[in-house]
Every structure is written in structure tokens, then in C-alpha cells.
Amino acid sequence: MTPDLSAAAPIQRPSLFERHYFLLRRLHSLTGIVPIGVFLIAHLTTNSAVAWGRFGLRGEFPDMGVRDGGVAYFWREVLWINQQVPHLILIEVVLWLSIAYHSVLGVYFAAQGRCNAHQYRYQDNWRYTLQRVSGYVGILFIFYHVATLRWGWTWLVPGGASWDHQRSASTLAAALRGGENFTAAGLAVSLFYFIGVSLLVFHFVNGLWTAAITWGITVSAGAQRQWGYICAALGTGLMLAAWASVIGFATLSPAQAARVEDTARGQPFKVGM
């Protein structure tokens, strides 16, 4: 094929997007790990304290059982984060911007592919498909999660519970259950949490696995397999933490949690606080 040189096309300067394509793509990959992935690990560690916190109390509240001890530990942890961590709002804004960037570019990049796992039924191809599905569902879930529990969009919460870091365990349980007892809408919210968090854990560890190929850290098939085992182990741990958190709070009675919060605080809350 001989190129036609008589009518050379005018040289166009590529668009800003095309010129910085590499940077935009790698920033997308990086934000998924730092700060989003790191935050996910920290967040699930804190929340799963509802299951393991009793064993971290170091002798305090010796009368409390596993359940109440977990609530007390979680409650104190959340209070510490909200009152002691410096520049919390800065951390939050960086996180929100990273999530927004990762979401917008992620949807744009995902739109460039066509899943064909029904035709080529390889395990890796299902991973590819699930990575995209979990991204889409994850965006909806994170938006609902942050809007209701952080920005106070209580009209989206069944029962209208408003999350408060002073009463972190009881208000969270109420938001998941739709009130003191499970309502149908509360069950739907809890289920949405279960699915959303599970998909996000998958999205993170699978992204961690592919990022190592993208950046050229794992090159050989053997290295990719071994990094896969490490990611799978991390994913199993995070998945257990995620399930412990969602199930732990969905099965928690808000009234009982409020009593534990009062005990842990050393004095009861004023009504309406």
C-alpha cells in the first residue's frame, strides 16, 4: 500500500486529552490504590471491629460480651477518627476527588470495551467483565453510602435515621435496618450494602492484580500467578471484614447499641443529641 503524499493532511496538534493520555490512565490506576484502596482497607478494619473489637479492649469493660464489646470498641474508634485525626476534612476532600476522578474515567474507559465472556468463557474474561460491573454498581453504592451517612440525605434512608459520629453504632444500625426492627426497605438497604461492599472488595483486589501488569511489575506468567495468590489472600481477608461489618451492624439492635454507647462514654447522651 503506497501512501498518497500529494494531499498530505494538515498536521493537527492532538487534543489535551490525547497529549496527556498516559498520565490520565496511570493516575486512574494509581488513585484506585492510593488513596482509595488504602482507605478501603482502613475503613473495613474499623467497621469490622463490631465483630472483633471485644478482643481489642485490653481489659476495659470486662463485663461486656463479644457483641457489646465490639460496639464499644467501634464507637471509640470512630470518635477518635472524628476528633483526633488532623486535617480530616482535607483527607475527605482528597478522597472524594479521587473517587470522582476514578469513577468518571473508569466509566469512560469501560465504555471502550465490549464484554464477551458469554462467548469466551475463561475465568480471566469473567474477571474482566466483573471488574466493569463492580465498578458501575460500586459508584452507585458509594454515592448512596456517602450521601446518606455523611452528607445527611436522610430522605434516602428508610426510617430516616441520621448518622452521627457521637452515636456511630446505633445510628448506623438504624440506617441499615430502617429503624429499631427490620423493615422491608431496611432489608433492601442491608442487601444493597452487602452486594455493594462485596463488589468493591473484588474491584479493589482485582484492580491491584491488573495494576501490577499495567505498571510492568509482574511480567512473567509465574509472577502474575503468584501476585494473584497474594491478591486473593488480601481479598479473602477484606471480604470477611466486609461481611462481618455489614452483617454485624444489620443484626445489631439500635437501642442496645445506644446503651453500650452510653456506657462507653461514661455518661448518657442528652435526648435529641
Partner: protein, 293 residues
């Protein structure tokens, strides 16, 4: 050392054989037909008597000799492309029973061992159909031009003997050099989409074969001189970042080329190339894009 007459189907492509095939049995070929670019498609089924060792091409030759469907309608001969008939040119690639592979090496005894079994033939999905099972794979070669996957030796004076090679490097590159640009890897790739407009090939995904061939020539002692250009193109839109790591490519490649390793290798080279650009020099990407070769 790989044999060139490689009759083994790619992994997962063939259904498990159901006992010894009966010679002289009738096999139905359900063929996706299309009279030309932009024309509507239709299915036609042909019954073919197969012998031991028949392959898809030999059956298509029988259909061409007597193009009558199972309903008894006389139709036009089915058009296909082929060259070597020994799985080294890649021209005969098509989608057989839903998976992409070469038709010349596709043995009927593996795919349709029983009387009345059906084999489905469709053109590749990611290339414009010229007619019936014949597609236009120009975009694959355009990607190779974009990445300059060759050794630049043209000049006005003799460059003397080439550099020394180690046997280890030779062995790695020998495997990569077996690529026949057949298109299986890109046809199965969820990130490689049908794009009939050549004007858009400059920013659309180059495909696993091109990434692997870029690696082949980046590792060649003389081909290396074009590595900055290749890595610059592979950093941009349609380059290595457009791979979604579904790893279908490596599973369908008939030559068992370690495509995902090439993808990781090029990922690393691109990372290093970009970091070098930040800290050591800032070559104008447009100058690099017009570099030697």
C-alpha cells in the same frame, strides 16, 4: 521448538471428542453468509460428506464445487480466504463454533465426530467483512506500521555486521517471531472493537499481536533504535493502557505466544520510558513520532 504443521486446536476450542469418527458421514455446515460490505447477513446450511482427516477448508471446497443448501436451493459458492493451508499464514482465520481459529488446521473429526453433527462457520467479528467468511485485516498491518515493527537497515552506506546475540535472547524472540498476524488475539479481545474507518485506527487499540511484535523488535539489537518511537506510541491512546487484562488473547493464540508476558514487559518499558522523560530529557513526542525508519 514449535512445529509449523501445528494441527492442535487452541486450548478450549474443540469440544471433547466423542469416540472414533465414522468416515463417510455427513456433517452440516451452518455458514454465515454476506454478499459484500454493508450487505445484510443470512445463514445457509450445507451438508458435506467428510472423509478421515477432512478439515474446514476441504469441506468449503466441496461446498464451492456444489453450492446447494440442505433445503435444495442452489446458491453462490461460499467465499473464504486462505494461503498456506498449514497454519502459518493466518489468512484462513474464522469463528468456528463461536471461537476464533484457523480453518485449515481445524479437523472435522475433532469438531463433528458423529453423523449429522453441525459445525458453525462465521467471519471474524472485529474486521470488516469483504464477503462471506473473508474479512479485511488491514487494521492489524496498520498497527504494525504505526509501531514500526521492523529492523531499520535502510541507509546510504553499509552498517557492517550486526551485534552479537545470546542464545537466551534468541530463544525468547524466536517464540515471539512466530506471530502470523492471524488476528485471533484481537478477535477475542474485549478491548478491540470493529472499526471500519481507517482514519480512526491512529487512536484505536493496536492489539496484543502489535504489542508483542513491538517487544520483539525492541529486544532486537538493531531494532532497538526505534524503541523510543514505539514506546511513545504505546503510551498514547490505543497503546498498552487500552489493554483491559482480560487475557483472552493468550488463550486463543494458535502459536501459544506469551502475549500477556509481552503486555507486562511493554507495560514496564512504557513506565520506565515515561519516568525517564520526566527526569532526564523531554523529547518532543511529535519529533519522536516522525523518527527514523
Amino acid at each position: 521448538m514449535a512445529t509449523h504443521l501445528n494441527a492442535t486446536p487452541p486450548p478450549d476450542a474443540a469440544p471433547p471428542s466423542r469416540g472414533p469418527a465414522t468416515p463417510g458421514r455427513t456433517v452440516n455446515f451452518k455458514v454465515r453468509r454476506c454478499d459484500g460490505p454493508g450487505k445484510p447477513g443470512r445463514w445457509e446450511t450445507f451438508a458435506v460428506t467428510v472423509e478421515r482427516g477432512s478439515n474446514v477448508i476441504s469441506c468449503l471446497q466441496q461446498i464451492a464445487a456444489n453450492p446447494v443448501t440442505v433445503e435444495g436451493t442452489r446458491t453462490t459458492p461460499v467465499v473464504w480466504d486462505s494461503g498456506c493451508l498449514e497454519e502459518v499464514c493466518g489468512a484462513c482465520t474464522m469463528v468456528i463454533n463461536g471461537k476464533v481459529r484457523q480453518s485449515c488446521s481445524c479437523l472435522i473429526d475433532n469438531y463433528a465426530p458423529g453423523e449429522g453433527d453441525t459445525i458453525t462457520l462465521e467471519p471474524m467479528q472485529k474486521f470488516p467483512v469483504v464477503r462471506d467468511l473473508w474479512v479485511d485485516r488491514s487494521r492489524m498491518f496498520s498497527a504494525l506500521r504505526r509501531l514500526k515493527t521492523w529492523v531499520p537497515i535502510d541507509g546510504t552506506y553499509s552498517q557492517g555486521a550486526g551485534p552479537k546475540e545470546t542464545p537466551d535472547d534468541q530463544e525468547i524472540r524466536y517464540k515471539l517471531s512466530e506471530c502470523m498476524t492471524c488476528g485471533c488475539c484481537v478477535d477475542a479481545c474485549p478491548q478491540f472493537l470493529l472499526e471500519p474507518d481507517p482514519a480512526r485506527w491512529e487512536t484505536s487499540f493496536v492489539g496484543a499481536h502489535a504489542v508483542s511484535l513491538a517487544r520483539l523488535f525492541n529486544e532486537h539489537p538493531t531494532g532497538r533504535t526505534l524503541a523510543p518511537h514505539r514506546l511513545e506510541v504505546l503510551s498514547g491512546h490505543g497503546g498498552i493502557n487500552d489493554c483491559g487484562n482480560a487475557q483472552n488473547c493468550v488463550k486463543v493464540c494458535p502459536k501459544h505466544i506469551p502475549l500477556t508476558e509481552s503486555i507486562g514487559q511493554i507495560g514496564r518499558a512504557v513506565t520506565v520510558h515515561q519516568i525517564k522523560k520526566i527526569f532526564f530529557a523531554r523529547p518532543d513526542p511529535h519529533a519522536a513520532a516522525k523518527g527514523p525508519g
